[in-house]
């Protein structure tokens, strides 16, 4: 199978754009990625568009604006893993030899719903009875606090770190730092999670140009190689499941490390799914960055700061950069590619050589999460 590279990346700043339609949010990110890659847009042979609420044929509506039609266009919905799944499909297609150059798009316009929690599917058993995403994570937090002694202060420190990182990211939705006190006194959403411990509602888009390593080399810039592209779904269960260990991410991480031929200590920088403060802590453990029960201390030690042992969410993560859900997967890749190219300025992770992205989502009954997609990249 052929080696695949990411040759171009682009994203819009994330934020609230109530007067801009989904397709108009997306196309600037695509032009930016094409320009970044240095390709002619006519070289794009296939496009994968990840979105949850973009509506019918979001890919086609968007690409029509750029005159990029008549090629296979696939629209993909996998909750928060939509554009990571889109990347996964593009990687498989280029690896297989079916195409040489593919476009990946991630776009979302959550401001179309006003505010409030993410609208979930009312057909779902738990959703009908009042389940919302912050509550699911709040349950994880309560259980983790009981089992491992995690404190509210430690939870708040996730937001403090990521908001500080976001302040150095011109594409982040929120660019103001906060203190532990600010975080704990912000509006209660689902105890113990307060507003600043929840990712904000917003809009945005990101795009990637994916191609063979040979084409990437011809384009003359540092080729960022895809070392692993993993996608899995949660295992439906009716009985006990340990909510302090996200089984879908644990499995996905093991698969991804195996595909890349690395172990957790090889990862220099990671963009993981910090939709809520507790999430990032659980993912330190799921990825093996620290041992079970140690996430709070690991964070407090500074190990996951930009200058730490394993920089986690240098972009500001979902908490500060924002989480327009279909766009997030691709946006994480934009950050990691820029980190590996050493283009991140103030938030550059020194000597970043191996990076990881992780998007997981879908609040549905009986699942840890519905989908999880992990990618590993190297310079």
């Amino acid at each position: 199978m052929r080696t695949v590279c990411v040759a171009g990346v682009g994203m819009t700043p994330f934020g609230k754009f109530p007067n801009v339609c989904t397709a108009d949010i997306a196309w600037p990110a695509i032009l930016s990625a094409i320009d970044d890659a240095g390709i002619d847009r006519r070289q794009i042979e296939v496009a994968y568009c990840g979105t949850v609420f973009g509506g019918m044929m979001t890919g086609q509506r968007t690409l029509a604006k750029l005159g990029l039609t008549g090629i296979p266009i696939i629209n993909i919905e996998n909750a928060c893993s939509s554009s990571s799944t889109a990347l996964h499909q593009a990687v498989l297609a280029v690896r297989s030899g079916a195409y040489d150059v593919g476009l990946v798009i991630g776009v979302e316009k959550l401001t179309k719903f006003g505010g409030g929690t993410l609208p979930l599917e009312m057909e779902d058993w738990e959703v009908r009875q009042g389940m919302v995403m912050p509550a699911l994570y709040a349950m994880r937090a309560h259980r983790y606090m009981t089992d491992f002694g995690l404190t509210r202060n430690q939870l708040a420190l996730v937001s403090v770190k990521n908001r500080a990182n976001g302040a150095a990211n011109p594409d982040a939705q929120i660019r103001s730092p906060v203190t532990v006190e600010d975080v704990l006194s912000s509006r209660p959403i689902a105890d113990p999670l307060t507003l600043f411990q929840c990712c904000p509602t917003g809009d945005g888009a990101a795009a990637l140009i994916v191609c063979t390593s040979r084409i990437a080399r011809c384009l003359g810039r540092a080729a960022i190689t895809v070392r692993a592209s993993d996608l899995t779904s949660g295992r439906f269960t009716e009985g006990y499941r340990d909510m302090t260990s996200p089984e879908i991410t644990v499995r996905g991480a093991q698969e991804a490390y195996e595909e890349a031929g690395i172990d957790p200590t090889d990862v220099d920088v990671a963009e993981v799914h910090d939709a809520f403060s507790i999430a990032e802590l659980l993912y330190y453990e799921a990825f093996g960055f620290c041992g079970r029960g140690e996430a709070g201390q690991f964070l407090e030690s500074g190990a996951t700061r930009i200058d730490g042992k394993i920089a986690v969410n240098p972009s500001g993560g979902l908490l500060a950069k924002g989480h327009p859900i279909g766009a997030t997967g691709a946006a994480q890749v934009v950050e990691i590619v820029r980190q590996l190219r050493r283009q991140c300025g103030e938030r550059q992770v020194e000597n970043a050589t191996i990076g990881l992205t992780h998007a997981t989502g879908g609040g549905i009954t009986g699942f840890d999460h519905g989908a999880c997609s992990i990618h590993i990249f190297s310079r």
Binding site: G116, T117, W125, E126, R128, Q129, G130, M131, V132, P134, A135, L136, A138, M139, R140, H142, R143, T146, R187, P188, I189, A190, D191, F236, E238, G239, Y240, R241, M243, T365
Partner: protein, 157 residues
């Protein structure tokens, strides 16, 4: 007011003497509307009980009772009355959530003694992980026309 029975008892074998719980008219109606009615049945003495579907082929139980078994794809599913108490696995107190519920509301997972995990609204304002809680129906909200929203709940009272 006529009731609409939600549990399709024709697929149930060896049903014990349980009657399905009435959901109560259309969602916008006044009166009572039972959320999660698919998992609730009324015993002969009129009390509400949680009902799961027990697969005769593989022995796993699911709530609400399915028509086909997610464990083995079998279709011989029996309605089985569930224990009325269990241990609270975890909970959340929701301040921003379903708009027609009384806010804030508590939801959580209860592990029944037979290994089945049940999602439910929780009665009361204070909760402790590991505490024993018991089942009954309770009001969780009010719809736009003033109709009561009832749901399966667990609590200490």
């Amino acid at each position: 007011m006529t009731s609409t029975f939600l549990v399709d008892m024709s697929t149930v074998t060896e049903a014990r003497s349980l009657k399905p719980a009435p959901r109560g008219g259309s969602p916008a109606a006044t009166g009572e509307h039972l959320l999660g009615a698919e998992s609730v049945a009324i015993t002969p003495d009129g009390t509400a009980r949680l009902v799961a579907g027990l697969c005769n082929a593989c022995g796993r139980r699911f709530l609400p009772p399915p028509k086909v078994c997610p464990g083995c794809a079998g279709s011989r599913i029996e309605a089985e009355e569930q224990p009325t108490s269990g241990r609270l696995y975890s909970y959340a107190r929701v301040h921003v959530g379903r708009g027609d519920f009384h806010l804030p509301y508590s939801i959580g997972y209860v592990d029944l003694d037979n290994g089945l995990r049940v999602f439910a609204n929780l009665r009361g304002e204070r909760h402790d992980i590991g505490e024993r809680v018991t089942f009954r129906l309770a009001e969780v909200g009010v719809n736009k026309l003033g109709g009561r929203l009832m749901a399966p709940t667990f609590g200490k009272d």
